[in-house]
């Protein structure tokens, strides 16, 4: 038997991945999010930190901000947030504040993940709202986009260093010949 929930989780995570791809095109860390209410996407966003030079321009926060503006309410009580990477403290906080019902994320974040990895803000009973959390949906795909992105940066840096060294060597050789 087909698990309807799992099918729709994968469907919406693919939409979040499409957002992450938009970030990648802009040379941003590829992270994307969509907010879903009654089976429909009510907002979508991707990481724009570098393009907008704004610390708060994370996919989840932008998606929540947009949804509040468009729905005209700060209460997103029946919404599910799909995001390719585990939320950081800021985004986990925004999720709690907007009372999102359920969060589905792809890859875990060992550096800043606050939905189970470093801590679990979303299910901490001391806050006045808790979310359901599902993790690991299309994890491989979500995670490899990000690691591929950082590998690309490292390789680019390595190449630039080699080019600089080759240039220095050539310059030095020319000086010695002169």
């Amino acid at each position: 038997m087909m698990d309807i929930d799992a099918v729709s989780d994968e469907y919406f995570m693919r939409e979040a991945i499409k957002e992450a791809e938009k970030a990648q095109t802009l040379n941003e860390v590829p992270i994307g999010a969509v907010l879903v209410l009654n089976g429909e996407i009510i907002s979508r966003a991707h990481n724009l930190r570098e393009c907008e030079q704004n610390a708060v321009a994370h996919a989840e926060l932008l998606a929540i901000d947009k949804a509040c503006r468009e729905q005209g309410t700060w209460r997103l009580e029946e919404a599910t947030l799909y995001v390719t990477l585990e939320p950081c403290p800021m985004c986990a906080g925004a999720i709690i504040l907007s009372r999102v019902k359920r969060v589905v994320y792809g890859a875990s974040d060992p550096k800043a993940g606050c939905a189970g990895t470093l801590m679990n803000l979303l299910e901490d009973e001391r806050f006045n709202h808790q979310c359901e959390v599902a993790k690991g949906i299309l994890e491989e795909e979500c995670g490899s986009m990000i690691s591929h992105f950082f590998r690309g940066i490292r390789e680019r840096k390595k190449l630039e260093k080699k080019q600089r060294q080759a240039y220095e060597l050539e310059r030095q050789t020319n000086i010695d010949i002169e």
Copy 2:
């Protein structure tokens, strides 16, 4: 001898309180924040959750968002944030992400405070940035604004309840007489 730091902390906290007063005028929970760089206020904001019906419209997040837009950078590495109430998880996260150097807050928040009360996200060494934290600056003034605000709400609700009961009683009495 006068402690210059303490004097300027009080000065800027009074500016944050002015922001909180603006929130109060709008019937918002009175919380205000200012961001200071090189002795100058670079952005100021107050809680606007109800007016804007936006879960992310907290004083600190709005101040950081504005500062990034106006400075054209997501790095606020030399800035100090003054806020009348201890930051929640979202705002503590935004502070870490924008690499604010120092956070000064007035009243502690037993319900959601994440700069020492429920937890201390700002000094958690697992994240890639830590802030200096100073608390209790004009604490009494900052805290009493908020408790006074909530007391007002409770009293208004009690009065409304009494008025409804009196109205119901009068209506019932009229029916009995008829």
